[in-house]
């Protein structure tokens, strides 16, 4: 948990060496594996499994940022991502050329992210009027309002069918929808989002946000503007979700109301919780589990003698088991396992 990490970082003397040497070994190993992945995996794995997992991981990361550091479980993040996807289709180019404005990518993408951030901030401003469990309900209601609105509105959002043929720009002469370039594109942005969340969580703003999470009254008494911090957290999370939403739209080359329907909104929560809400790496682990399950569920289910359509049952049962036994998701299970290994099996308590 970030709060317990903090005093250690502050009280210990700075470890010697440059900052590059201070990065833990595990990061190097995972980083090298991820960079060299195109040598190991085929195009399908790169594009459908890892590309998708990075994108869903980023959206879940924005939820993890709000929930883990701000104590606000917002279900509106998938809608923010959907909004960014819609905006890039509307301002940029798509097959629906009666609506798409066809602006150049360097205008359309920033505008799309800006609109998504504004949308996320407005939703946040509404949601921070409430606390705890109410936040979940209100953001769920906003998310379903967004779904119904996009499904009914034909002038801007093209109703039920949405937009197809939304393609990334041919920058540097590379087709970014090819498996390997798309893998590196999503890896890059996932890395940026991960680092941004880590950085913000230790910056003064992130520390104040964690203070707001733990004791809003005390923070208010100390002179912090609690509401402003919470809304700013929503804006920051919306930027991450917005980038992920654009990537998601490019991955499938289309965006429709179903992209941000009630099902996907809940799926993002499942991903974040299954991975763990305590550390930014959790959402990516959760996303990888989710994507692997949903890609290979058919084989698993057929192996168990069930039909392929029982996929939701598998996801639901897995999710139920994890939240029932470990509130902190897979990361929590890992931590429990590590602590049980440290414990002396005979004397109990912490081992040597």
């Amino acid at each position: 948990m970030a709060v317990t990490d903090l005093p250690r970082g502050l009280t210990q003397e700075r470890p010697r060496g440059t900052w590059v040497e201070r990065i833990p070994v595990a990061y190097w190993v995972v980083g090298v594996i991820l960079v060299l992945m195109p040598l190991l995996a085929n195009d399908f794995i790169l594009y459908q499994v890892f590309g998708w997992a990075f994108i869903l991981g980023m959206i879940a990361l924005s939820l993890m940022f709000l929930a883990g550091y701000g104590g606000m479980v917002s279900l509106v993040q998938m809608s923010v991502a959907g909004m960014a996807g819609y905006m890039v289709a509307i301002f940029g180019t798509s097959a629906i050329d009666t609506i798409s404005l066809g602006w150049a990518w360097y205008v359309a993408i920033p505008v799309a992210i800006l609109v998504a951030v504004i949308f996320g901030t407005l939703a946040g401003a509404l949601a921070v009027r409430t606390e705890g469990i109410y936040t979940i309900m209100i953001t769920l209601a906003i998310a379903s309002a967004f779904f119904y609105f996009t499904r009914q509105n034909y002038i801007i959002f093209n109703g039920f069918s949405g937009f197809n043929g939304v393609l990334p720009p041919q920058l540097f002469g590379v087709d970014w929808r090819e498996a390997v370039p798309f893998y590196y594109l999503t890896l890059f942005w996932a890395f940026v989002a991960y680092c941004a969340v880590l950085y913000v969580s230790r910056a003064p703003f992130g520390l104040a946000l964690q203070g707001v999470r733990d004791n809003p009254r005390r923070m208010r008494a100390l002179g912090f503007n609690v509401t402003a911090h919470r809304i700013a957290a929503y804006s920051f999370a919306a930027a991450i979700a917005g980038v992920a939403g654009i990537l998601l739209t490019w991955q499938s080359a289309q965006i429709s109301p179903g992209t941000a329907g009630v099902g996907p909104v809940i799926d993002i929560l499942i991903i974040a919780v299954v991975g763990g809400l305590r550390h930014p790496v959790g959402p990516f682990i959760g996303a990888l589990i989710y994507v692997v399950l949903s890609t290979f569920a058919i084989d698993i289910l057929v192996g168990l003698g069930l039909g392929a359509e029982r996929f939701r049952l598998l996801i639901g049962l897995g999710f139920l088991l994890i939240v029932f036994f470990s509130p902190d998701g897979v990361l929590g299970l890992y931590r429990q396992w590590r602590e049980s290994r440290r414990r002396d099996p005979l004397a109990g308590g912490d081992g040597p």
Binding site: F149, V262, I270, E309, G316
Partner: protein, 337 residues
């Protein structure tokens, strides 16, 4: 009531004028200019009645939800699944035995038993852990939804009401005047919907009486206000919890039979009614039964009038109401701050 009038004379006047206009619109024969602006009176009256009966259905679902939340601070996001399960059960019982009325008590008992199971196995183990309860109930609702899809498939099911309740009945509401004979035309309305409306009102009044006039109701209200103090006076609060949860769940099941009778049952209805009850209790005020009634009526009317007069954005209208309520009165219309 009088305090409200004393404090807000202006708003009381506005509300009074609106009510008077509504009463006139319901009972009077509409003049031509009004018909030209709004449309025929029959459409208006039908939307009004459909809205009120839909509100009655929403009230049945949401009152259990809000009662459970008010007492235990449990957000049971599997409430919609209980509704859908009740609907399917009611269909099976009504088809199997041939008695529509029999479906209600049996469904109530079975779904209430499921509620007891939920309370004992899930909620008691994680009391006070809001987020975990929410997540677990989301998981349960996903699993239940898929199990029901497995058993009953993706078809639409409709519970058929018995003969003595089917067919329209003539009410005493005037919709227009016959041109030649100057006779008054009266509104015809399905009898079963009126019966359901009456049943919802009876249940609502019964719940109010139970909560405000009996010893059990006193215990529940005391639990809502201060749970620790009630436990300290020697009441077995776990028993009260189980009872309220069973009642709320059973009510959702009964609402399922009602919903299956005048609409239909299909996968996806669970999410729809979960969202509807969320919006209803947010608008009306968490944990308040009168609030749930008012919220359900508002949302039901908004949905029906929306679908008649602005069909494209009818669904969005309900969420707009919610946003407005949240912006000006975050605790809900009748909620306590």
């Amino acid at each position: 009531m009088r305090r409200f009038v004393d404090r807000n004379p202006f708003w009381s006047l506005v509300i009074l004028i609106i009510i008077a206009a509504l009463v006139w619109a319901i009972f009077a024969v509409w003049p031509k200019w009004l018909v030209e602006i709004v449309g025929r009176k029959k459409i208006f009256l039908n939307a009004l009645f459909n809205g009120i009966t839909l509100g009655a259905l929403y009230f049945l679902v949401a009152s259990g939800f809000t009662l459970i939340f008010g007492l235990m601070r449990n957000v049971n996001l599997a409430h919609g699944s209980l509704y859908l399960f009740g609907g399917y059960l009611g269909y099976e019982i009504a088809e199997g035995t041939g008695y529509w009325l029999l479906a209600f008590p049996i469904t109530f008992l079975i779904v209430a038993a499921l509620g007891v199971l939920l309370q004992i196995v899930v909620f008691r183990r994680m009391e006070g852990q809001d987020l975990r309860q929410t997540l677990v109930t989301i998981g349960i609702s996903i699993v239940l939804a898929d199990l029901m899809l497995w058993i009953w498939g993706g078809d639409f099911y409709q519970v058929l009401p018995p003969e003595w309740l089917s067919g329209p009945v003539e009410t005493f509401f005037v919709t227009g005047v016959k041109r030649r004979t100057a006779e008054l035309i009266y509104l015809k309305y399905p009898l079963v919907r009126l019966a359901i409306l009456a049943a919802a009102i009876v249940i609502g009044v019964g719940m109010w009486l139970l909560l405000n006039r009996t010893r059990i109701g006193m215990l529940i209200r005391a639990g809502v206000d201060d749970r620790e103090m009630l436990t300290a006076t020697g009441v077995n609060i776990q028993l009260v919890f189980v009872g309220v949860f069973a009642f709320g769940a059973g009510l959702a099941g009964v609402a399922g039979v009602v919903g299956g009778t005048f609409q239909s049952m299909a996968p996806g209805e669970d999410t729809r009614f979960l969202l509807a009850s969320l919006v209803v209790v947010i608008v009306g005020g968490m944990g308040s039964i009168p609030g749930a009634a008012l919220g359900a009526l508002l949302i039901g009317l908004a949905e029906q009038f929306g679908s008649v007069y602005m069909p494209t954005y009818a669904v969005v209208l309900t969420f707009l109401i919610m946003v407005l309520v949240l912006a000006f009165r975050p605790q809900g219309i009748l909620g306590q701050a």
